[in-house]
Amino acid sequence: MIKRNGGPFAPHDKSRRAFLTRSASFAGLAATSSLLNPSFARASGTLNFLTWCDHVDPRMVALYEGKTGNSVQSKIYEGTGAALSIKDQSSKGDWDLFCVDFQDTPIVAGKGYLAELDDSRVPWDKIFPAIRNQPHSYSADGKLYGIPTKFGYYGLAYNKDKVDPADARTAEIMWNEKYKGRIAVYDYYLPIIQLVGLSQGLRPQDITVENLPSNIREPLLKLKPQTRVVGDIVTVLNALHGGSTDMIIGGAEWLVALDMANNPALDFITFDEGALMWNEALSIFADARNPEASWAFIEAALSPEGQRFISTSECAWANPVRMDAALTAEEAGILRWEEQAKVLERAIPSSLAGDELDYAMLDLWQEFLAA
């Protein structure tokens, strides 16, 4: 039998075993903790919240906990698909409240996940009418499944020292040779395809499975050679801050407002072709154990103070839906709050018709990535 020649590995058998023992103990502990977690999460007085990161801003959570005495147990996700996977893998009643893209609420409700909400409990008179009057606000049978809390736009986030603001006004900048190789694209297929659609005169609701290949495919694929980076929020921001790119297609206030105070070169704009708008909403799961605790959170989130905390979250800034949100002058300045009513007049909701179109868009997006 070959003996080891006394190198550093030779005496390590014992410590390796010890390492494995410690690893196994750690894994066991971790597994046990995760098994115990749901029972903790289901404790009374706890709101189980499946959410985008901005709705669990520490100030917002403190506001809710201070008002109700409840605690918040949250799970942050990225993308409605991911959220629904989490929900599918959870036990019935594990989740109470759901922060979801407003345009997805009819689809999610159609799958039976959401409870109908009491319209009379929503302070609609304080909320921008344009936010309420969106095609997806109510289901086909007139039921409310989501209450909007925050909105923003998919447009352009850019370095105004490098990009001519006149060029930035139009979606044509995506194919402007002047910026070839200086473009980052946010990797969410839905708004990017919709922005390309707007540049071709197609509003989101006009995009269909049939016209996707004929009207969108070619300009989308032409965008690829212009692009330096296609990435998630951190990646595209890194590219912008690191000087590798000068703009982020699909970005706007939610990407750069947080940094604008420190970096005056950053700016955002919506395209003249249309201000493609996103909304976040709060929904209550159909099998929620604490629907009243969920309503208490919704009320806190829609209070002027709560609106400020959500819109200026450490995670991402965007606009409050409430017209009298308690923004400071500086926050209002960065968000261009005084212009919002005007921008909303030309806002186009980033809505999605259904699963079939979603699949077709995803196929096209992967073709774009591979191009």
Partner: protein, 298 residues
């Protein structure tokens, strides 16, 4: 000769065990088998089953179908994603072996034993930092305003920044940085097991230093190279983070496509089918390298 010695050693181990001890050993096998069954074979079974389902309104449709596999084989961009993944993994593995072998060789044969431990710790020191942080650190180094470009620019060697990050080369660099450490360890562990008597005997018989290396050390260290290379290939082909951060999403790799299915549309069946394809690729890699994969030599 080496194989015989190993077999003899194994036989001797079992001969030392009394009858009851052997029974205990047999019983002791069951918990790890149960563990592997519960946390490997059953999940794999689930994954295979789900890969034949489809995403449907309100959840998953468990009706058996090969639609997902058909889609993978008929969509050119998904096949391209697979070939891109294999290419990146192969390039990374090859470069990592070429870089790691000399390091391991010097550590094993040229550095005094008392310094080997210190140098090994230095070699694996980057392992102690987060994989994610290391990938982001490379973006700082390779960026247009990064260290490399600034340095070259200040030296007057370039007037425009070189495009270093958000490329396949950047992805490979990030991978190589990580896997060279892994390969150094596996190759080193193998090299130190090779008896110096073989080399001494060869030298006595007139073999040159290169001949000693080429005909004795390299063949005997193949198990270490192949184990490290196989691990590198396996981890690399399934990695999502490095291509995303350093590759800048400029080419589609299959793990990225899997993430898109899960995060964006919650299409777990399609993601499972893609994962099965990746697993089959790794299985092929295993069969191609199996004859050299000798874990007992590590």
């Amino acid at each position: 000769m080496t194989a015989n010695a190993t077999q003899e050693g194994r036989a001797a181990q079992f001969e030392l065990l009394p009858g009851k001890g052997l029974t205990l050993v047999r019983l002791a096998v069951w918990p790890p088998l149960a563990w592997i069954g519960a946390f490997f074979f059953i999940p794999i079974g689930f994954m295979l089953a789900i890969s034949t389902w489809t995403r449907a309104r309100g959840g998953l449709d468990p009706a058996w179908t090969l639609d997902n596999y058909e889609k993978i084989l008929t969509r050119s961009y998904l096949l391209e994603g697979l070939t891109n993944s294999i290419e990146v993994a192969l390039i990374t593995t090859a470069i990592s072996v070429i870089v790691a072998y000399p390091i391991a060789y010097v550590l094993a044969y040229r550095v005094p034993i008392k310094w080997q431990r210190v140098l090994l710790i230095l070699a694996i020191l980057p392992f102690w930092t987060s994989y994610l942080v290391r990938s982001y650190a490379w973006t700082v180094v390779l960026g247009d305003l990064g260290i490399v470009n600034v340095l070259l620019s200040q030296l007057g060697l370039i007037s425009e920044p070189l495009i270093l990050n958000y490329t396949r080369a950047a992805t490979v660099l990030g991978f190589v940085h990580f896997f060279v450490m892994l390969l150094t360890l596996t190759i080193y562990a193998n090299l130190v097991q090779i008896s110096p008597l073989y080399r001494h005997a060869a030298a006595d018989l007139g073999a040159s230093g290169f001949q000693c290396f080429w005909r004795i050390t390299l063949p005997l260290s193949l198990p270490g190279i192949m184990v490290g290379a196989f691990l590198t290939f396996v981890v690399c082909i399934g990695d999502y983070i490095t291509p995303q951060i350093l590759g800048g999403g400029n080419e589609l790799l299959l793990p990225q496509s899997i993430i898109i299915q899960i995060q964006r549309t919650g299409d777990l069946p399609m993601a499972a089918a893609m994962s099965v394809v990746l697993m089959l690729t790794v299985t092929c890699a295993y069969f191609l390298t199996a004859r050299w994969l000798r874990l007992d030599r590590l």
